[in-house]
Each structure stands twice: as C-alpha cells, then as structure tokens.
C-alpha cells in the first residue's frame, strides 16, 4: 500500500470553473502522491475532462490552485508542465507524420530529450517495428501506445490518462492495466479517469468520485465499494418456491428492475431465470440452508458490485444522479 510519507506530486485545491453562467466544476480538491494510481470516477458529463484540462493548463480555473511538484501549473506552465505527461481524451497525433517524427516533434519542445530517450520510450510501449510508419496507418491501440510514449518522453512524475482503455480490445485492456501498474511501481504517480467502476476497481489505489462537478468522496477504492449495497444473484430450481422462501426472509429485498441496478455485462452473463436480491452478505449461508432444506436446489450464488449509478445513489441519497446526467 502507498505510504502517506511519499511526496505529493499533484495537489488540487478548491478549483472551480464557470463557463457561461454555469459552474462546470464546483470546488474540487484532492492530492496525489508519488507511486500511486489515482482513479477519477464519474459518469460522462460529470466534469472529468474539464478537470483534466485544467490540470494540464488547457483551461484556466476560475478559482483555486493546481500545483505539480510545487509549481502552479496555470501561472508557471513552463515549470509545472515539465513534470506532467498526459493524454487528454483521444491520443491525437499528427497523422501525416510517422510515429518517430511525432516523438521527435514533442521531444524538441522540451530540453534534454535525446534520440536515445526516444528510442527507449518506443521500446517501452513496444512500437519499435512500426515506429517509422505514418500514424495514419496505425490502429487505435497503436495510437494509444504512441500517445503514452509521447507522455513518457520527458520522464514525468505525474502521468495523466483520460479513459486509457476506451476503444481497446480485451487483450489490449489487460496489457494497458499491467503497463500502468508497472509505471506506478517505478515511482510515477498515475491519474486515470474512467466512467467504469470495475475499471477503477481493478487498477487504482485511491479514487475520487465526481458528479455534477463536485467531488462526492475521496478514498480507498475497496472501502468505498464495501460501503455501498451488495447485490446477490441466485440461480435455483424450482424458481417459484425459492422465490417465495426468499421473499419471506426479512433480511432480503427482491430487486425488480434489474436493468437499472446492474451493469449490462453482468446481466448478459446471468441466467434469465436468476433472481437478484439485496441482502447482507452474512445472511447468505442461512438462506442457502433454508432453501436446501425446503427442497430447492441452489445452482449458484454470486455476489456482484453495483453500477456506478448505484454507488452514486448511495452516496448522494438519491438526489444528485439526475443532475449529473442533465449536465452532459
């Protein structure tokens, strides 16, 4: 686990952004320490990208201070951005140049990046074979890797990745996760945004949850998830009898609108006769015993994490969720 003695690489203090008459970002505060993978979780339109753009000085905050290694990014970008590598949204590179020419281009924008360093990062992201081809011939995964190579050129202390697994195939997603973890273990702080709870769960140490431009919670990922309700999927026959028994259990709440509670990926893997309930984990063994003794054969019992929306509902007691959607 990350010790709290590590150097603070990024500190975001009370940043706000007003566009037109709306506060797009309203008082966001968090710190990231060296060697930590920090998740930034929120639905589309919650203000993730706007916040990231402020971190890299594409947008000036209306109020508040962002410091990287002690330098104010918006007032002193020449020093502040020196320690930051980033990909904002898609990794858009010059498609009419080769991968190598792109890297040379960005290397020229910062003193002290040698040709050997360029070759080193190309090696790191495993693009050696195709690096002298035009970027217009690259697949999305290769562009993503070239983007990361670009971000790593200046040996950053903070790496900012906006939805890094978006558009990658399952193998690419796994590789990307392993790669990010490897970078963090070398002492880099990594900031990852995502709208998928599972993604953040698999990757990050700590997370900030943002909705409607406000940070709802900052903390350890697993703690935050454990606090929210647990859903259990039951698969048994005969279905009708089992359902009656569960319904009579006072600790169990049968979930009717499954689609709005669970991720599509979970629903797809579910038996269509399965029953989804909300109940404390501790009550499961007793329920299994009761069903079995009544002659219901239990085929599977599965605990699943709720969707991001469910987590939000829990955190905001059901008020902010609609707002975060209309903000999109």
């Amino acid at each position: 686990m990350i010790s709290t003695n590590e150097e603070i690489v990024l500190s975001v203090e009370h940043i706000k952004k007003k566009i037109g008459k709306r506060w797009i970002i309203d008082d966001v505060t968090f710190d990231i320490r060296a060697g930590e993978i920090f998740g930034f979780l929120g639905p589309n339109g919650a203000g993730k990208t706007t916040t990231i753009r402020m971190l890299v000085d594409l947008i000036k905050p209306t109020d508040g201070v962002i410091k990287v290694c002690g330098y104010d990014v918006n007032r002193d970008p020449e020093r502040g951005l020196k320690y930051v590598g980033s990909i904002v949204e898609n990794p858009e590179m010059y498609t009419y140049l080769t991968g190598f020419e792109n890297l040379e281009h960005f290397a020229r924008m910062q003193p002290g990046i040698t040709k050997a360093r360029i070759e080193e990062v190309v090696e790191t992201v495993r693009l050696t074979e195709r690096i002298h081809d035009k970027v217009s011939t690259y697949s999305l995964g290769m562009r993503q890797r070239l983007g990361i190579a670009q971000a790593l050129l200046g040996r950053p202390k903070l790496l900012i990745l906006d939805e890094p697994t978006n558009g990658l195939d399952p193998k690419g997603i796994k590789e990307m996760r392993a790669f990010i973890k490897q970078l963090a273990s070398s002492g880099m702080a990594v900031f990852v945004s995502s709208h998928l709870l599972s993604e953040i769960q698999l990757l990050c140490d700590r997370v900030a949850i943002i909705s409607g431009g406000k940070v709802l919670a900052v903390g350890n990922v697993n703690d935050l998830i454990a606090e929210s309700s647990n859903y259990i999927i039951w698969d048994f026959t005969p279905r009708q009898l089992g359902l009656q028994i569960l319904a009579s259990n006072t600790e169990v709440m049968i979930v009717r609108n499954v689609e709005s509670v669970l991720d599509d990926s979970v629903i797809a893997n579910m038996n269509k006769d399965a029953v989804v309930v909300q109940m404390p984990e501790t009550a499961v063994p007793a329920a299994v015993a009761e069903l079995t003794s009544a002659g219901v054969s239990v085929k599977s019992v599965q605990k699943v994490t709720p969707t991001l929306e469910q987590l939000f509902l829990r955190m905001t007691e059901g008020e902010a969720i609609d707002e975060s959607h209309s903000a999109y």
């Binding site: 904002v88 949204e89 858009e92 020229r108 910062q110 200046g154």
Partner: protein, 328 residues
C-alpha cells in the same frame, strides 16, 4: 525555451502536410497557360503592326484619345485614360517598348496581376491551416500541454509562416521567369522601366519619373508583393486562431479578398472604403503609375493602412491564443 526547435517543428509540419507542394503545382500549371496566352497576343500584334511596337503603341494612344471625346464614357474612366496616354507618350518619346516580350517583362506583368488576388490566395492556403488545423485534428491538446508558453508556440508558427510567404514569392518569380523565358527568351534584365509617377487627380507629375532597369523594378515589385503577402498572411493567421475549422477559415479569407477585388472596381464614390485592407493590396500600381481606385490613396497611405490592419490582427491573435480555454 529556445524558439529555434519550435520553428523547426512548424516548418516540418507545413512541408509534410504538402501544402507548399500544392502551391508549386498550381504555379507550374497556371504559369504555362498564361505564358501561352501572352504568346498568342504577341503574335497577333506582330501581324497587325508588322512587328513595329511604335505603331502598336501609337494605335493604343489614338484609341484612347478617341474615347475621350465620347459622352458615353464616364468621367472617372477618362481620368484613367488620360494618365495612360501620358505614360505611353512618355515611353514613345524615350523610345522604350514597355511591353517588349521576354521572360523578365512577363514576370513583371505577372507580379502586377497577381499581387491583389493570386498571391494572397496562395498565402491563405498555408496560413489558414496553421492554427485551426491543429484544432481540427485535436493535436492542439498535445501541443499546448508541453512546458512551453503559448505565445512562443504562436510566435514560432508566425515565423514559419513568414518564411513560407517569402518562399512562395521567390518561387513565383523563378517559375515565371523560367517558363516564360522558354517561350520569349531569357533576356531583358537591363531594359529600362519608368517609375516614380506622381498622380494628382487627372494629371501625372512627370518631374520625378526616372528609369530603372527591369531587374531593379522586379526587386521593388517583389518587396511590395512580399509586404502584401505578409499582411494577408497575418490576417489569415488571425482568422485561423479565431475559427476552429480550417475550411471556415479559408472561406472567410477568400470572401474578404474577392470582396476586395470587386470593391476596387466600384468603390470610387465610396471614399471611406480606402481604409479597408483589401482595397489597398494593389501596391505595384503605385510603381507603374496606374491610378488608385479611390482618391487620396498613395503608396505611403496604403502601406500605413495595411500595417495597421496587420498590427491589429497580431494583437488579437496573441491575446486570444494565450488566454483562450481549449474546450474541444
């Protein structure tokens, strides 16, 4: 951060985008067409006047004198013709053929005809893309998140643009001379050309008129064309900063330039049109003594008007570019 590597980046991008090759290609296609048309005209005249350019000139003078007596010719046109007649008589008295067909004369005439529309359009083709192209492709996010101040990035783009404008004018002259020389011969460098005509309403002050050699005259033309190129380039540069799409930026500039050439033909009675930049582009006319489209215009006036427009465009470009939020 040194500016030289940034200028190198911008130069590489302009070359690799092949914009400059397109411009060379346009010149290589169009110049032979003009040359051929010029050759046909020369052949025609030679037949008519049995090769004596004095007869040809005398005929032109007589034609214009006749039209002065007609009531149907507007007074403004008569003014032009009177000045033209005086100039032609001056050439006749000094026994100099102003239209002697050779590579140098063709180049001179081509520059006269291209300064207000053709060269500005070529310049616009490069300048309109220089900032908006980065926004259209999204690469602006990579460019502005490097530890370089925004004004330096913009300045490097501006310097690269001025370099290419210079290159466009040099290539135009060289291509014109080489291609037309193949038809008319490569001589004519030392043929005298008269300049220094001072226009007062309908009179020409001949006291300051003096002869310069053709190559000196072309050098003066190049200087003025370069100045027009830079002014138009800076204006297109501003539009490119203000407008996000390259297409919109090219169309805006083209509309302004073409509006200028239309206005030049009908603005004589609308005096304040002389403060518009597009009416002031025909600087080489001041060299040859062609009357200005609006009273009160002369070389210093046009230079000041164009400089003020360029200065305003530069101030707006830098203010907007360094302050604006990159939201898309």
């Amino acid at each position: 951060m040194n500016l030289i590597p940034l200028i190198k980046n911008e130069t590489i991008k302009i070359i690799k985008k092949k914009r400059f090759y397109v411009i060379l290609l346009i010149l290589l296609v169009l110049v032979p067409i003009f040359t051929y048309a010029q050759m046909r005209q020369a052949q025609n005249n030679r037949q008519k006047f049995e090769g004596d350019w004095r007869l040809e000139l005398q005929q032109a003078i007589t034609d214009n004198q006749n039209s002065l007596g007609s009531d149907r010719v507007p007074e403004e046109w008569k003014k032009y013709r009177r000045i033209y007649i005086e100039q032609m008589q001056y050439y006749l008295e000094h026994d100099i053929n102003p239209n002697e067909p050779n590579g140098v004369t063709f180049t001179r005439q081509f520059l006269d005809n291209s300064i207000s529309l053709f060269i500005p359009l070529l310049v616009t083709a490069v300048a309109s893309d220089i900032v908006s192209g980065e926004r259209t492709s999204g690469t602006i996010k990579m460019l502005l998140t490097r530890p370089v101040r925004r004004w330096k990035i913009l300045l490097s783009k501006l310097i690269a643009l001025v370099m290419f404008i210079s290159l466009i004018i040099v290539s135009t002259v060289i291509i014109c001379y080489l291609i037309s020389g193949a038809f008319f011969g490569y001589g004519g460098f030392n043929v005298p050309v008269f300049t220094g005509f001072l226009l007062f309403d309908s009179d020409v002050d001949m006291s300051t008129v003096h002869a310069v050699t053709s190559w000196q005259y072309i050098l003066m033309q190049c200087g003025l064309t370069w100045f027009v190129g830079v002014v138009v380039g800076v204006l297109a540069f501003m539009v490119s900063v203000l407008v996000r799409s390259t297409a919109a930026s090219i169309v805006t500039m083209m509309a302004a330039l073409i509006a200028g050439s239309i206005l030049t033909n009908m603005a004589a009675s609308w005096k304040s049109a002389k403060y518009l930049f597009m009416v002031n582009l025909q600087l080489t006319n001041y060299l040859s003594g062609t009357p200005a489209p609006i009273e009160g215009m002369n070389l210093p006036f046009s230079l000041v008007v164009l400089s003020l427009w360029a200065l305003a465009a530069l101030i707006i470009s830098f203010l907007v570019f360094t302050k604006q939020d990159i939201l898309n």
